[in-house]
Symmetry: none
Subunit: 275 residues, 2 copies
């Protein structure tokens, strides 16, 4: 059963020509407000012509544009009157595999943050924002993208941020650059990688400050780490989810940026002017 226009659209979007699909996509992206504006505004927002918009609403089964707008307004009215339905059933029909996946991910995040005090996060952020040493980031097979993501942001607000990539031999050699004032951020979830464990151990012996992102079962690297972030990873899927760790990483990125605000802002402006 189709209750909302959004569902109606996603139901038929597959059978639409390119232009009308663009209209559908921009409507979904700015749902439903763009549909309450005039045809001209809608069309320019979608990058198509007005007739395409009209053909689009005609394909949805509406006689004319005003009728379509009335439907949107009625829907909005219902939504505004009962805010409960907003947070309720995000994926409507339920049955499929989407909703449980999303629900599990949201739960993971809440759980992850529940076990993570603000104090901890602030400490880690302060460590990362410490400008006296260098920052290195590295990840495992599936988590290396998280290390890259964090490195890409941190490198903008402060100097001396390095992502360790490539073959094991390459980053092992970088150990020579690491000392007591440096920070090493490691991402490692099951199945834990021996190469990373060995790497962490040597770094630890050199006095490097290790920040570990891992799962709730804790990578063996936790023994060497000064800070451990244990994220929930279980989802109804063949794979583990790194989403919770991703959000923690983003939170830390934000916190570090805020701490370095003055210096960071200057750097950002400088970088902007370099482009």
């Amino acid at each position: 059963m189709i209750s909302s226009i959004a569902e109606l659209i996603s139901d038929r979007i597959g059978a639409m020509p390119a232009g009308e699909r663009r209209a559908a996509q921009t409507l979904i992206a700015n749902y439903p407000l763009i549909g309450l504006k005039t045809v001209a505004e809608f069309s320019t927002a979608a990058g198509v012509s007005s007739p395409t918009i009209l053909r689009f609403v005609a394909r949805l089964g509406f006689q004319n544009y005003p009728e379509f707008q009335s439907a949107l307004q009625d829907e909005l009215a219902a939504q505004l009157q009962s805010p409960a339905t907003r947070t309720l059933n995000p994926a409507s029909s339920g049955g499929g595999a989407v909703s449980p996946m999303l629900e599990a991910t949201l739960d993971n995040m809440r759980e992850t943050f529940r076990h993570l005090s603000e104090r901890q996060l602030a400490d880690i952020a302060a460590t990362l924002a410490n400008r006296r040493g260098k920052t290195f980031l590295i990840g495992g097979r599936f988590t290396d993208p998280l290390a890259r993501y964090m490195a890409a942001h941190l490198a903008i607000v402060q100097p001396d941020v390095h992502h360790l990539a490539g073959q094991e031999g390459i980053w092992r050699d970088r150990l020579i650059d690491m000392g007591k004032r440096d920070v090493l951020v490691i991402f490692d979830i099951r199945r834990y990688q021996d190469s990373l464990v060995r790497f962490a151990e040597t770094a630890h012996q050199r006095g490097v400050h290790i920040v570990l992102f891992t799962d709730q079962w804790l990578s063996p690297i936790a023994r060497f780490a000064r800070h451990v972030i244990a994220g929930r990873t279980a989802v109804p899927s063949a794979w583990d989810s790194s989403a919770a760790l991703f959000v923690v990483a983003e939170t830390l990125i934000g916190a570090v940026t805020r701490q370095l605000e003055t210096d960071g802002a200057k750097r950002i402006r400088e970088l902007e002017s370099l482009r």
Copy 2:
């Protein structure tokens, strides 16, 4: 300070003549939808004449009726886009900068999936699971790690998955390998990168099936994309959040894996034995 039109009205309703007051009351009662309808509808609903409605909006300080409607729409847009402000619960320990960040992220995910039907996701998963062609993934400055993350997983359950890395020239040359049966997954959020747009355009001209991960303002690449995933990115931070897109990516990875279950499982076993 007056932030909403509703406040503005209740502020001046005392100084209004009877007819305009009726207009004000019916607008408050059906706020704000009646104000988005035509003057005629508004007037009959309020039991007054059209000019009274116009005088009413003029008294509120608007030059004309459309301007008044635009203001209402902007207000609505702000309300819809940040459900956080609606459900604001002071109970959440407040203070630190962690909680709002998490809350915003969770909202972003719910909103993102609310605009994403199972049908769409299933379509995209089917596209990605289609074994007849190759799969290419690429991302922008901050989103490339997402492309890597997805590529790392997809490459395990099926052959011919390539992440496009390095300098622009390098992946431009890979265009020669792309054809009608191939899929190109692009991650592009603000600020959109010209190089990616150009790349997408040429790929589109070659008939490549493009799947776009972008933010709610839609990268210009949306024009060339067969499938568009618009994720919410706004968080109380100096940076945009890619977390919602990350979760969508994980969901798709799971869905593709499920579709390729039989073949995929065989591949996974083979890969395990290779380690």
